[in-house]
Amino acid sequence: MNLLPRILVLDDLFGRSATAGTNVDRENLCANFLCQDTTGDAASKSSRQKILRPVAEAVFCRAQSPCIAGVGETVVNDLGMALEAVRSGWPEASRIRRGRRPKGIPRCWSMVLIDLCFYTGKVTQESHRRTAGMPEGRSGDDDLRSYFGLSLLDAIHREFPELPIFILSSKPREEVSLEFSRCGALGFIDRSALDGPELLEQALWNHGLLADPTGDVVGQSLPLLLALREARRAACHRENVLIRGERGTGKELMARYIHRCSEPAARRIAIHADNKERITDTATHWVAVNSAVFTPNLFVSELFGIQPRTTSGVDGKVGLIEMAKGGDLFFDEISDMQPEVQAALMRVLQERQITRVGGRESLPVDVRFLSATNADLEDSDHAFRPDLLDRLRAGGTIWLPSLRERLDDMPLLVEKLVREAEAHRPGIRPRQVTPEAMDRLLAHDWPGNVRELRGVIFDAVTRHPDVEHLVAEHVRFESKLKSQKSKVEAGSALNRPKAGQQVGEPLAVLLERMRGVEIDSQRVSHWAGRLPDLQREQARLAARLLAAALEATKRRTPEQPDGILQIHPAAKLATGDPNLTAAKAADLFKRLLGPMKDELEGDLHEAYQVSIRLRPKTPKSALISKINTP
């Protein structure tokens, strides 16, 4: 997929088409700025050059009539032509109505570049000899009080306030700096500078509407591109950033994008997709954590770490803040942060230093905090400290659009998710999505956003592994699945959640559904003999919860960065009981994991073995359970 930035250049000299075909001046400009001419007119088609590592695709427009002027003809400025050219690359999200496929919608302009001085008047033999098709010029053309470029800028900025516009001119910048700023231009590029590609690249990085060339963040819709631009701007500094958006909009993905773009080498590679490895392997630290895992008892050691003590034999532990040193610490779902944790974090942000548990020395904090939430934290019901909120968004707030607001991205998202779903299950047939299926997807409200879309696509693909087309009938939405689904997630229930994975929301939904399940239908065949199934799935779910708790409470040290299992803190975390004894914790693991001990793998298997060693006797509750089980 072509993700090269797409720019529109409004310029009389470079935008003109010549009767002879080649516009040498445009060709030279493209070479100077490493832009690929995709105008599609005679001038671009007859180009003799190839840009080997282009910075952008450029479409040229003269903004004057006629486009091709011969001797004797009069050239006049044409604001309407310029506006039409801008409109052709500015798909308004509102144009995409629900239920209609966004077919044939052009990509957004990443940026518009406007010349200042447009020469008008008659094309004379002399002016044509100097530059083919150019008029002799009128006295007001070159008057900075009446530059047509400024009129263009003003008109375009009024109609397209979100569109980034730069002046591209050979005129002295200082002469017009006030005027172009007033009219809405974001900057000025000197057309005759030798470092043109670098200047353009920097302008695009700071202000352009650019897709993510790595493909991690999928989409080219205007709301998404605006959010990505905010993220790149946030990446330029080390202030804390808050990411907000509905559930399932990809807040952690955006946080990772900020982290990636913060790399010194990111500017070039954020535009070009030719070095993906360099983009994904960042040099600075990235630590992601769900704020809900911090309980009042555990958060201090988790955040600040533990000072090793040789005399008492206490092992040291590196805290999350230290782990993220020089990089980013991502707090997901900060609305779930306990008041005690908020207070501690507030102190860290104020003092910019921490002290390990049991330690005396203060350690400086060189960490940027990226936070995410879908909650209205300003609402007093959330009990979120306003002073902490202010500090967490000191570097800005990035609002992620819902899927409803970026339906233009549906085809790209669906394509990616279908391929992912196919890759997830080997041997499955590759398929195409029919227009009717796409219409059905576009007509949905998507309260769960991209995460919900992912579930729907995976459901459609895994239920129909042997077909070549994903048709409308394969698409089932969550509301219709309620009564049909027996499993919440595809795949093994014992899969350990990955670090930072959002578990709070699906679990809350699941519990709510479980409470609402009614099995008193008249059709006995529906529920007869299903008790073992229910018990098995209940055990799997509990095991998965324990796996998450084990992961969250691992003791991490520099020697063992993957962490060491701790069943006691994990049991405390999972139960929410701070007074739980170590023996009871082992009993809990034995009781919950015992029924499925033969299926256990990894951490759960190890945790079960540890609990067996700690508590070799069968707990009373299990005996009672055995007695009651036929």
Binding site: A31, K50, R130, M134, G137, D142, R191, L194
Partner: protein, 175 residues
């Protein structure tokens, strides 16, 4: 000191317009762009054939425009001095003796206030520098030698300096 009858815009069109055609229409937007493109080609960023004698095109282009630059610089004071304002209303209503006095004073002030003589001198030096470099380009064997010697970069930089120097000259008649 220019007299009223000498301010007849001998270049045919107004000086600022003529200067803009040279400085922006040709020097920055055509000549410098062409040199810049060749530099990008030499860096391997652009694939385009550069005929071995292409450098002679730049030389002949420069020689055809050099005289225009010289005439612009030389005629600047005559064309743009505030003395021209004394040949049009309302200053024509002044008594001839008063007009002469004020004209001389306005001209002297203008020269000092806008550092005209220094700016003109600077533009002349840049024109000579660029001209010498282009003539040197005319003596190299082929385009490869021109690129290898770094001459294109030097000429590009000299043209930028010349263009900047011309831009420093006032573009409107000011008292």
């Amino acid at each position: 000191m220019p007299h009223m009858e000498e301010t007849s815009h001998s270049l045919g069109i107004l000086w600022p317009q003529q200067c803009s055609l040279f400085n922006h229409g040709w020097l920055r937007n055509c000549f410098s762009q062409s040199l810049g493109a060749a530099i990008q080609i030499s860096r391997g960023n652009v694939q385009r054939d550069l005929p071995s004698q292409d450098h002679q095109t730049w030389v002949s282009e420069w020689l055809s425009q050099e005289d225009t630059a010289r005439r612009l610089i030389d005629s600047f004071v005559t064309e743009m001095s505030p003395t021209v304002l004394f040949s049009v209303s309302p200053l024509t209503a002044l008594h001839p003796e008063d007009a002469e006095f004020f004209r001389d004073m306005a001209h002297t002030h203008w020269l000092k206030r806008h550092h005209i003589e220094e700016r003109i001198e600077c533009a002349k030096i840049q024109l000579v520098t660029a001209g010498e470099l282009v003539r040197k380009l005319g003596r190299v064997k082929d385009i490869q030698e021109a690129i290898g010697s770094g001459l294109l970069h030097l000429i590009h930089a000299a043209c930028q300096e010349l263009a900047d120097a011309l831009s420093q000259l006032p573009r409107s008649i000011q008292l």
